[in-house]
Symmetry: C2
């Protein structure tokens, strides 16, 4: 039985191996995820992002627990957690605390947790994350929580994978709201104020509301302009109908350490799921995500192709001309293509 | 006289126009910057980055003033300032306060200030910034200050343009040091604690020193691994000799609003310039930067080329197969190339 088949029948060890293959971008991983692709599309993908110190990890743990041991009408679901830490492009980043997370959730076969240190290009990171989400999806995990640290382009790219994106804030983080408002609020489907037992909640809530009023465009209207999705650069047709009814991101207050507010948060998530499934936005989301993923893969393939058609000697000679400023980089590229 | 020639003879209006053309990625801009390329390579490029609220803009103003009205053996230099705000990939970002900056520096033809809202892909942003730096360089600006906000991948990519990178901190920013330590300290050639008149300077300095001891690898050793520079992905040869003598980033305390510590900071910058010019690192830096820039331009050119060879109908048919999960994105790309 191949790796893909093992994953389909629920072999956790094979799933763990596959995730490693995908993370390392091996041919084996690509082949397996390609075979599994037609079994994907069932999971609801929840992105969780926010600044360090907001308690995202505890919140993700709580959400997972609440889907595993549901109360008050929440449907039970198998949960996959993928924690991505793209904070250090140089050193490979820190491994997140898998063991800490496992304490509450150990021994439950309905849950699968994986941490991923960042590596590679941003486009590459988003594609690797997409592959890992697809593996969990094919393996039958119905809720997939993708946790990212921070508020940069990589988080935004990863958030584009998610059907529902939570942006997590906490009271008293000072400049963070200022830092966060520019890009990250625009991707929020739900705003969470975690650590809501701490002083300053009202200030944070007012600040978020004010920023939301200023900054929030219609959610899930993918801007195609000159974004990083290579396919869109290449003038690919991408269908993005405007939603009939605007989604106003609700603000939900939680205290993850005391498991407070989590039920309300899950209700908001389920509402958002109903919203995007009901108005065709789930499909346009899917189309955008696929175009993005194909764009990154296409760029890679085109570069490899091109590189095979040119000798090291030719290339180095041309580069030397650029280094010595005889020709410009742009002229050199015209000669190379 | 063409735009490039106008810029070479010091026409400020033409320079401003050229920068707009480069920012908008027009063919006119690319042509002109290509013509100007052989006049570049004279400027010392200083990157200034750090979290919001650290007073980077004031510091950049001070540095510019100190190079224009030098004291204590600092050489006078023409100064170009490029302020990049990549905080909002969605809305195009806020225009920085040119007018505020101009107050101290107005009427001096030895200074040129330009703000640039972010747009486009990250690779694209780095290339656009590189082009604008080249224009200022060719126009005779000897010191070019490139200011970026934040600590994400885009800042790191832009910092790679700079010969000397300043990472700016301020006391009392709470979680910021934690947030900043992972990636950004590794790109610092000089650490600046600005707002050094405020309480908590010692705490910040100790935290920076501790992080520096933990995190700092040999500076300017460009990691080629799987970084975003497409050229490196394509297996391009890039020369990166290890420096004979390690540069330990000094920590300099400044109070930009009172113009304190700026002389010391400039001495540190000049020392770093001497260091990279003396040991061949300036050349390997140049090679890395060029390879990066060519990589981004090459990706663009390859994509455009490919797109011209395939019809909309073919492409849409294949995409439909992916959306309906008949084939995987990876299989589709194999068919497309």
């Amino acid at each position: 039985m191949g790796l893909a088949d093992e994953v389909l029948v629920g072999n956790r060890l094979s799933l763990a191996r596959l995730l490693t293959q995908i993370e390392n971008e091996t041919p084996v991983g690509r082949q397996a995820i390609s075979e599994l692709y037609r079994f994907t599309g069932r999971a609801h993908i929840i992105g969780v992002t926010g600044a360090p110190g907001t308690g995202k990890s505890s919140l993700v743990n709580c959400l997972a627990l609440a889907f595993r041991q549901p109360e008050g009408g929440i449907p039970q679901a198998k949960v996959g957690i993928l924690a991505v830490d793209p904070s250090s492009p140089f050193s490979g980043g820190a491994i997140l605390g898998d063991r800490v997370r496992m304490k509450d959730l150990a021994g439950d076969s309905g849950i699968f947790i994986r941490s991923m240190a960042t590596r590679g290009s941003l486009g590459g990171l988003a594609v690797t994350t997409a592959g890992m989400v697809q593996a969990l999806d094919a393996a039958g995990f119905e809720i997939i929580l993708v946790e990212t640290v921070g508020a940069g382009q990589s988080e935004i790219d990863i958030a584009r994978l998610a059907h529902t994106t939570l942006v997590v804030e906490a009271p008293g983080l000072g400049d963070d709201i200022q830092a966060i408002k520019a890009g990250i609020l625009e991707i929020a489907d739900i705003l969470v104020i975690n650590k809501a037992d701490q002083p300053g909640v009202d200030v944070t809530e007012r600040a978020l509301k004010a920023n939301l009023d200023l900054a929030h465009p219609s959610p899930h209207t993918f801007r195609t302009g000159k974004t990083s999705a290579a396919f869109l650069l290449a003038g690919m047709p991408v269908e993005t109908p405007a939603p009939a009814e605007l989604w106003i991101p609700p603000i939900v207050k939680t205290t993850a350490t005391e498991k407070k507010g989590v039920g309300e948060l899950i209700q908001a998530i389920l509402q958002h799921r109903g919203y995007i499934e009901g108005n065709g936005m789930k499909r346009s989301h899917e189309i955008f995500r696929t175009a993005y993923e194909m764009g990154v893969l296409l760029e890679e393939a085109l570069l490899q192709d091109w590189r095979q058609g040119i000798s090291d000697v030719e290339l180095e000679a041309l580069l030397e001309q650029v280094y010595t400023r005889q020709i410009s980089p742009w002229e050199a590229v015209q000669k190379l293509v």
